[in-house]
Amino acid sequence: MDSVPKVPIDKWVEGFVAFLGEYRGELFDPIDSVISGMLTFFSTVLTGVPFFIIILLFGALTWVFGKRNTMITTVIGLSLIYNLGYWENTMETLGLVIVSALVSIVVGIPAGILCARHDAFRNLMTPVLDLMQTMPAFVYLIPAIFFFGLGEVPGVIASVIFAMPPIVRLTNLGIRQVPQELAEAADAFGSTGWQKLWKVQLPLAKTTILAGINQCIMLALSMVVIAAMIGAKGLGADVYRAISQVDIGRGFEAGLSIVIIAIVLDRITQHAGQKERETI
């Protein structure tokens, strides 16, 4: 066995990270400032606005996008969070999730469109997406901390890496599922590539893409505890503290708050897609 040398993957990765490290300033500072800017914005807004307004806002959102009766669940659930005293941290978490989801959407949808248009790009992306979804989060948290330092930003990066794949996959799927004849019709009438995308493919893939966004939000939410371990604020931090202090009661309360937020976000985004389908 000794005659066969080990494939030095560890060295390669270390070398690559070290290489990136040299250009840390140029590469990562812009990302860092954009993400932390977004985080500050959302947490300021969400914690700054009085809680009842936020609750009413979410109630309205579920009313518009979701099913009517889930609005009551939303209002009661969010009021419970306030009552338990987790409001501030919930809003921090919400900000984190929103930023992660936004970044995932902004990167993931174009990537998905590229996948749908170019088989080669899809073939390249598929293993990358597999890697992103299955590689344990801690593995890429280490370099993320190395590049961004402790705090919220690596938390967002980790959430994005974990939560973006479904958007890419489902955008790709949604566009590829548009019946061949419809794409042909768009071409036959003389659409440009963009017109075909905007007027035919994306509208028809909308439901599928929304399902991807829904999944993305859920996955981002599931990362908040891990993000808390590297210094992100929010409900994750509560859970993490409860774990280290073996505080079953507070742990459960914080966990319950996460569940409520998850349900609210799920209902809003899930039914947005379904409603669309009914009118078609």
Partner: protein, 505 residues
């Protein structure tokens, strides 16, 4: 830009005549001369044929390293030159669509399949050996302006591929297509898009309506992508919707419509751009028989006023016969026969076509003029005696009375004429005027019940009651069992006969 005005065909190759330029077409591909190259040099280098023509002066060159002087004609070109000039003088119209040597092979090495095809392999052999699938194989045909050209064939014969090649939804492996003399193959993306927007409309088998758009928004689509202002495009969309009779449904979504209505929307969408050419791929195949017949009628009715050039794909013989001005039969990617419906029916090119048309109902293809006989007629100023003599000479028992222009006035029977001879009455007083007549385009199918009802021969009359011929039972029945041999010459001859007849009478 080149603008072809007339065309001529030389040795099976096409030559275009343009008012302001020339174009080279050779074999299956055509090339434009690069602008930076000297023309003569280019021809000589390519060892190719060069033909140039203008509207009134057609010149024809063959550039096989033979020196070309400006107005000289090269040896073998001379005879063709005259053919060409004849066509120019006659003002022969250029076909709307010209398809030349078009082939499409699906798979990784299409050229290999072309080679094998040239060596005589069949489509099936090629597929088994190489996995390449031959969609269309060396197809050439012309579609005239205003014509409904039907392409018919069994499933997998390459019909859809062929029609999609016409607007380049599929890129051909070899060969070329001209629409209005402009070569579609070889256009860049922008030019192609322009042609698709302005000239080509397409109707799909499964409608291909955009489900997220209302009927009107669907119909607007073609205009929308051309950035036509909202008001103008809504106006045009409404007109198109009105054409197909769906005014009430403007704001409905496709799911709310029945199949027939959906295809009307599909048709309206294709018409909204006002294209010259409609490509219809099995447009009515997904509809049930009754609705399908309605749609066919509607298409024919619209066609009367619109005069589009329509390439219609179907695998249904009856549909082809009903709609087609001409029909092309496809098998394994090749065209087997192209002809008018009655030609296909009565003169099938081979066993395949024969089998294909076997179960067709001739009575729905043949029309009165295909089976009519010469009508004996006389002008009313002649006497009864002359009439009787004419009847006896021709062995008929009744005679039509026509005026000098051969417009039908009435009918006299031998019995009445013989009475008139004794009483001295004139032909115009004894003739019957309420006699059955039909137009020359009446289908046999509609004639048969009429023939059963009446006991006198039925007159076939054209415009202004001009007598063209007469229908007798024997000939009509003969037609039903395929005993007609219709060709252009025959019909032409009939017309001539009718004319000279008129003079004689």
């Amino acid at each position: 830009m080149y603008r072809s005005i007339f065309y001529g065909e030389i040795n099976g190759q096409l030559i275009h005549m343009q008012s302001n330029g020339c174009r080279w077409i050779r074999g299956s591909g055509s090339r434009h001369k690069p602008s930076n190259v000297d023309e003569k040099q280019w021809i000589l280098n390519r060892k190719t044929e060069y033909r140039e023509s203008t509207m009134w002066d057609a010149r024809y060159y063959v550039g096989l390293r033979i020196s070309i002087s400006n107005h000289a004609l090269v040896c073998c070109g001379i005879s063709q030159f005259f053919v060409l000039r004849k066509n120019v003088k006659r003002g022969k119209r250029m076909p709307k669509i010209q398809v030349r040597q078009l082939s499409k092979v699906f798979g990784r090495q299409p050229q290999l399949a072309l080679k094998l095809l040239a060596e005589g392999w069949t489509k099936e052999q090629i597929f088994r050996q190489t996995g390449l699938s031959v969609g269309v194989n060396q197809v050439s045909f012309d579609v005239e302006e205003g014509e409904i050209f039907v392409i018919m064939g069994l499933s997998g014969s390459g019909k859809s591929t062929l029609v999609r090649l016409c607007n380049r939804l599929i890129e051909p492996t070899s060969g070329t297509i001209f629409i209005d003399g402009e070569e579609i193959i070889g256009m860049n993306a922008t030019q192609l898009r322009e042609v698709r927007r302005k000239k080509l409309g397409m109707v799909f088998q499964n409608f291909a309506l955009f489900p997220q758009r209302t009927v009107r928004e669907n119909v607007e689509f073609g205009l929308e992508i051309q950035h036509v202002p909202v008001d103008a495009r809504q106006e045009k969309a409404r007109e198109a919707i009105a054409l197909v009779g769906l005014e009430e449904w403007e704001n409905a979504y496709p799911v709310q419509l029945s199949g027939g209505m959906r295809q009307r929307v599909g048709l309206a969408r294709a018409l909204a751009n006002n294209p010259d050419v409609l490509l219809m791929d099995e447009a009515f195949s997904a509809l049930d028989p009754l609705i399908r017949k309605d749609m066919q009628d509607e298409l024919l009715e619209l066609q009367m006023t619109m005069k589009k050039t329509i390439l219609f794909i179907t695998h249904d013989l009856h549909e082809a016969l009903r709609l087609g001005d001409r029909i092309a039969l496809m098998r394994d990617g090749q065209l087997i026969q192209v002809g008018r419906p009655e030609e296909i029916m009565t003169d099938p090119a081979d066993e395949f076509v024969k089998k294909f048309v076997e179960d067709a109902d001739l009575s729905r293809v043949l029309v009165a003029k295909n089976v009519m006989k010469r009508a004996e007629a006389i002008t009313p100023d002649k006497g009864a005696r002359v009439a009787l003599q004419l009847m006896m000479d021709n062995g008929v028992s009744s005679l039509y009375i026509v005026d000098k222009k051969r417009s039908l006035l009435g009918l006299v029977s031998a019995y009445d004429v013989s009475l008139a001879i004794s009483t001295g009455e004139t032909l115009s007083t004894i003739m019957k005027t309420d006699i059955p007549t039909v137009s020359p385009d009446t289908l046999l199918h509609d004639l048969i019940p009429m023939m059963a009802d009446v006991h006198v021969p039925i007159a076939v009359v054209g415009e202004q009651q001009r007598l063209l011929g007469v229908l007798v039972k024997g000939a009509v029945l003969g037609g039903l069992v395929g005993k007609v041999n219709i060709s252009d010459e025959r019909i032409e001859r009939l017309r001539v006969e009718v004319k000279s007849d008129g003079l004689r009478a």
